[in-house]
Each structure stands twice: as C-alpha cells, then as structure tokens.
C-alpha cells in the first residue's frame, strides 16, 4: 500500500468526481456527501504523504510500471507533499463553504470542483513535463467552468478573457515542450536535468525552450507583464471558487521553483543564468503594481485579488536566488499567504449579504451587527498586511532576513516594506469603511445567517494566521528541509532514474 501513497491524492478526487456524476439523480445532498468524504480522505492521504516524504527519500511512482525516463512518473519530495496538503486543506474549506448553497446556483459544481482538485494535485506531484501540461489543462478546464458558475455578465466577460489567454498560454507550453523534446529527446524532469549536462546537445535551442517554459509558468503565476488577467478573473469568481483559485497561481510558482532547482541550476554554465537579471525586477514590479491596485480596489473581493497578485510577486523573487534559505522562507510565506487570501475571498460574501445593495464595496452602508465576521476580517487583514504577531509577519520577516545577504537586498527590502505599508493602508481603509462607516438612517438589510458550514470554513482558513505563527518552528523546519531537498537535485535525479542512469541507452538523433 505504501508504494501507492503517491497517487492517492490524485485518485481520490477523480473517483469522487465520477461517483458524483453517477449520483446526480440522488440530488445535491449525495454529491455533497461524496465531496466531503473525498475532501477528508484527501487531507488524510496528503498528511500521510507528508509523513512519508519527510523521511527524506523522493517517492517515485511509475505510472503503469513503465520506468523513467520512458514512462511517466510521479515524484513526491517534501515540497510536493506540502503543496498537496495545502491543496487538500484549502479545497476542503472551500467545499464546505460552497455546500451552504453556492453549489446550487449552477450545474455540475461538485464534479467540476473535484476535477479541479484532481488537476491541482497532479500538477504538484508529477515528475514529467508533458504530464504537467496535461494536469495543467485538467485544472484549467475545470476552472473555466467553475469561474462561470453562478452566471452573470461579469463572469462571462472575465471568463472569456481568462479562457482565451490560457489557451494561448497552452499553445506556448506545447511549443516549449516540442523544442525541449526536439533538442534533448526527453520530457522527464530528472532526465532533462541530466541531458542538459550532457555534451552534444543543441544548447541554444534547449535554452530557448527553458525560457519559453518559464514564461508559460510566469503566465500562470501572474508575473507582471502577464498578470493583467488575474484581478478581473479572481474578483468575478464566486467566493469558494476564488478561494480555490488562490492556489492556482502557486502552481506556476512551484513549477518555476522546481524546474529552476532541478533542471536549470546544476547544468552549470549552460542554463544557470537563465533567470538572472530579469526575474527579480519583474517580481518587484509585480509587487508594486499589486500594492497600487490594492489601494485603488473598490471592493473587498477586488482587494483580495490584488493581494493574491502581491503574494505571487513576493514569491517570484525566490527562484532567482536558488538558495535553500530563500526558498525555505518563500515556502512558509506561500503557505500563510494562500490561506489568508482565501479567507478574504470567503469573508467578502457574508459581508456583502449584510450590506444589501452596497455589497462589499468600500462605501458607507447600512448598519449590521456581525462581530465574528469583523474579528475574522481583522485577523486575516492583519496577517495579510504583515503585522506581528501573525503568520504574515513571520513569513515576511523570514523572507527579508533570508534576502539580507543577497546582492539586491536594498531594492527588495524597500519594495517589500513600502508595498507592505500600502497594502496595510488599503486594508485599514477597506475594513473601516465596511465595518465602521455606517449610515444609521438606512434600514438594516435582512441577510441569511452565516450558517455552520460557512462559519467553519472561514474558521478553518483564518485560524492558520495564528496557528502558523504559534507552530512556526516546526513548519519553518519542514520548509527548510523541503528547500534543502529541492536544491539537492542529484538525489532527485538518482531517485527518479535509478542507479543505472548513466547507462540509459539513447539513440543518435539526426
């Protein structure tokens, strides 16, 4: 059983999606039950995977028992296991939230949601670049339909742009893969790393392929010139869908980290310098752009979307340095920023219900009494702004101190701190408008109760702001071990390709 652990987080949501389609005739309650069972099993499987991966070895699962590099493998290291756990936790909370009634606003919500988890988990766990493309497409196809869930012109408008852009991105991904296969003769990540060091390859073509690949990941991660789609798409999506989407930018970031650490870095002199000089300035520009966008955001969900963009920019600083200390800090930052941004998306809906026509716009509205919502918003906002003693502060502190000795510390520090201030101002202004600036003469709006599902989901997502700070030491230690493992590509290559990797027979290509 242990050797099949790596595929469980992928199989569980896939099986659940099929079961939910079969159980459609039994009503939405049956689909919800299957979905929650799948979410719980998924969390258990991901926890198990984290425990197995933390033993130190890379778990390799050869699909169909075809050994690498000829077959497709799943390769689970500590980073992949941690991302699987984060996906499982986030999707469970979002699903619980959606079960309060959002899932009945359109058709096929539950199977699509499970397929989206299927794609996300696959993208994190796979060790093959073409398989990564396939899981990207599974994830995107489900996300296209989920984005449109609930209807309305804003969603159609955002969806059209999102779909068109991602289809163009997929075409670019395939071109990159074709060039990589044409120049290296392999698409297995470990084998790509090995082949990049081998003599006799067309290094110019391989470099171009790697840059294209990184450009595609940057589109998913929303690096600045490719990030204009994000705020519209995320702000238009329904609350639980937007919460799940928060992790989609992280797929791009983790892919860049992984490709950089495993394939590009060790192949000295040919591909190490691919990210130099351009990634840090663009990432910093993304942070500034996101901070300005957050200041200008008219509604809470827009603000949350800009915060997602800001955290993506912050995380994209890390791959350029290829140091395990920086990567470890980035991993901690990734965990907390994902959960906090998702919380803000989920909070926007019950707040909007209580303000009637004003919804979640930052305008003085009717009086409402919801101390728990206000407290949850305060916790999430303080963590997002990076105020002590919350996890957001620790994440930013770790990142800043890890970057202190890097060559561009001055630029990174000033941009991160100033943008942090801007984000804090935006959140403070937004929160005081939402909760304090009230018009007493306006009649209060009759709002549906928050309900236990939505309350539990918000609690699940907001509690890490405190828990990740309380248990920062074990989490940061795990992140440090994951980063050290990520930056030791030889172990990864040995685990995937086996001891005979030098003797793999290769045909001569014309």
């Amino acid at each position: 059983m242990t050797q099949h652990a790596a595929i469980l987080p992928i199989l569980i949501p896939f099986a659940a999606a099929l079961l939910q389609l079969a159980a459609k005739g039994y009503g939405v309650a049956a689909q919800r039950a299957i979905g929650m069972a799948s979410a719980l099993l998924g969390v258990c499987a991901a926890l198990w995977l984290v425990q197995l991966a933390d033993a130190g070895a890379v778990l390799v699962y050869a699909l169909g028992n075809w050994s690498a590099p000829f077959g497709i493998v799943l390769a689970v290291d500590r980073l992949a296991a941690a991302m699987a756990l984060l996906t499982a936790l986030l999707s469970s909370a979002a699903l619980l939230y959606a079960s309060a009634g959002f899932d009945e606003r359109g058709r096929h919500f539950h199977p699509l949601f499970q397929l989206q988890i299927f794609g996300l988990q696959g993208a994190f766990l796979t060790g093959d670049l073409f398989n990564l493309f396939v899981f990207f497409e599974v994830m995107l196809l489900a996300s296209y339909a989920l984005l449109a869930h609930g209807g309305g012109m804003a969603r159609t408008r955002a969806g059209l742009a999102y779909v068109a852009l991602n289809l163009a991105g997929s075409a670019l991904f395939l071109i990159a893969l074709g060039m990589l296969y044409g120049s290296l003769g392999t698409l297995n990540l470990a084998d790509v790393a090995l082949r990049l060091q081998a003599p006799g390859i067309d290094i110019a073509l391989a470099r171009l392929a790697c840059v294209l690949l990184i450009a595609v990941f940057a589109l998913k991660a929303a690096l600045l010139p490719l990030s204009f789609w994000l705020p519209h798409a995320y702000a238009a999506a329904g609350a639980p869908v937007a919460a799940l989407f928060v992790i989609m930018t992280k797929v791009g970031i983790v892919s860049i980290l992984r490709v950089q650490a495993i394939a590009l870095s060790p192949a000295a002199a040919t591909t190490t310098d691919l990210l130099d000089g351009w990634l840090v300035p663009l990432a910093l520009a993304t942070i500034v752009f996101a901070a300005l966008g957050a200041l200008a955001a008219p509604r809470l969900r827009d603000l949350a979307a800009w915060l997602v963009l800001g955290s993506a920019g912050t995380l994209l600083v890390a791959p350029a340095f290829a140091q395990s200390t920086v990567t470890a800090a980035a991993l901690y930052y990734l965990l907390q920023s994902t959960l906090v941004a998702a919380t803000l998306f989920l909070l926007a809906e019950p707040i909007a219900e209580r303000r009637g026509a004003f919804a979640d716009a930052f305008k003085s509205g009717p009086v409402f009494h919801a101390p728990w919502l206000a407290l949850a918003f305060l916790l999430a906002a303080a963590s997002a702004a990076g105020l002590p003693p919350f996890a957001g502060f620790l994440g930013k502190l770790m990142l800043l101190s890890a970057l202190r000795d890097s060559g561009s510390a001055v630029e990174i520090w000033s941009v991160l701190l100033i943008s942090g201030l801007l984000v804090m101002m935006a959140l403070a202004r937004g929160g005081s408008r939402l909760f304090w600036a009230r018009k007493p003469d306006m009649p209060p709006t009759a709002a549906p109760a928050v309900g236990w599902q939505r309350a539990t989901a918000i609690l699940l997502l907001v509690s890490p702001a405190i828990l990740l700070a309380l248990f920062a030491r074990p989490v940061a230690d795990y992140a440090a071990r994951a980063a050290a493992q990520l930056h030791d590509p030889q172990a990864y290559i040995a685990a995937v390709l086996g001891a005979e990797r030098a003797n793999i027979a290769r045909e001569a290509r014309p």
Binding site: E137, V163, S170, A171, L174, L177, G178
Partner: protein, 108 residues
C-alpha cells in the same frame, strides 16, 4: 519537406496571432484553432521528419519516433475540448450582451 512544413507552421501561427488580436470572439476562436494546428505540426517536427516510415521498431528497419505522435494526439484531444468550451462561452457572451466583442460590452 522541411521548407513546406516550416512555412506551413509559420503561416498558420501568423494567421492565428493576427486573428487572436482582433476584438471579436469569432475571430478569436478561429485564431486559437489555427494556433493549435500550428502547434500540433510543430510537435510533430520535434521527432524529426521522415517519410513513409512506421513508428514501430522492427529488426534493422527504419522507424520514426513514436512519442511526438502520442503527444500530438493528446494535444489535439485537449485542444478540441478547450475550443468547444470557448465556443460555448462565446455564444453565451453573445446571448448576454447582444454583440460579439471580446470585452462583452453591455447592451445599448
């Protein structure tokens, strides 16, 4: 053969990009379709071009790389599904706004 294939890929890509940059959903769909055709041909070429050779390894006989063919097949299936969804979305945008502008402007 090389000249024919590479110029076909180039012309398809150029037409695809031109159509994508138009602000109408119909030309957007056509442009993305042309782009995916170009990409599929490009993937084929990544296994080197050979005429009249099967993708099977037999004793001593010439063969062509079977992997790009599998990749192209996967890419075609995925691209087909995506295009179908995009067409449905474009139709919905047309029904909601009454025109086929990609920014889905409000009805006047």
């Amino acid at each position: 053969m090389e000249a024919l294939l590479s110029s076909a890929i180039g012309i398809l890509t150029a037409c695809g990009v031109f159509l994508i940059l138009r602000a109408r959903t119909f030309s957007l769909v056509l442009g993305l379709t042309l782009l995916s055709y170009a990409v599929n041909l490009f993937l084929f070429a990544s296994g080197r071009l050979q005429m009249g050779v099967p993708p099977l390894i037999r004793n001593g006989a010439a063969y062509t790389d079977p992997l790009p063919q599998a990749l192209v097949l996967t890419a075609i299936v995925i691209g087909f599904g995506m295009t179908a969804y995009l067409v449905m979305l474009a139709l919905r945008a047309l029904a909601e706004s009454g025109n086929d502008h990609v920014d889905v402007k409000e009805k006047l």
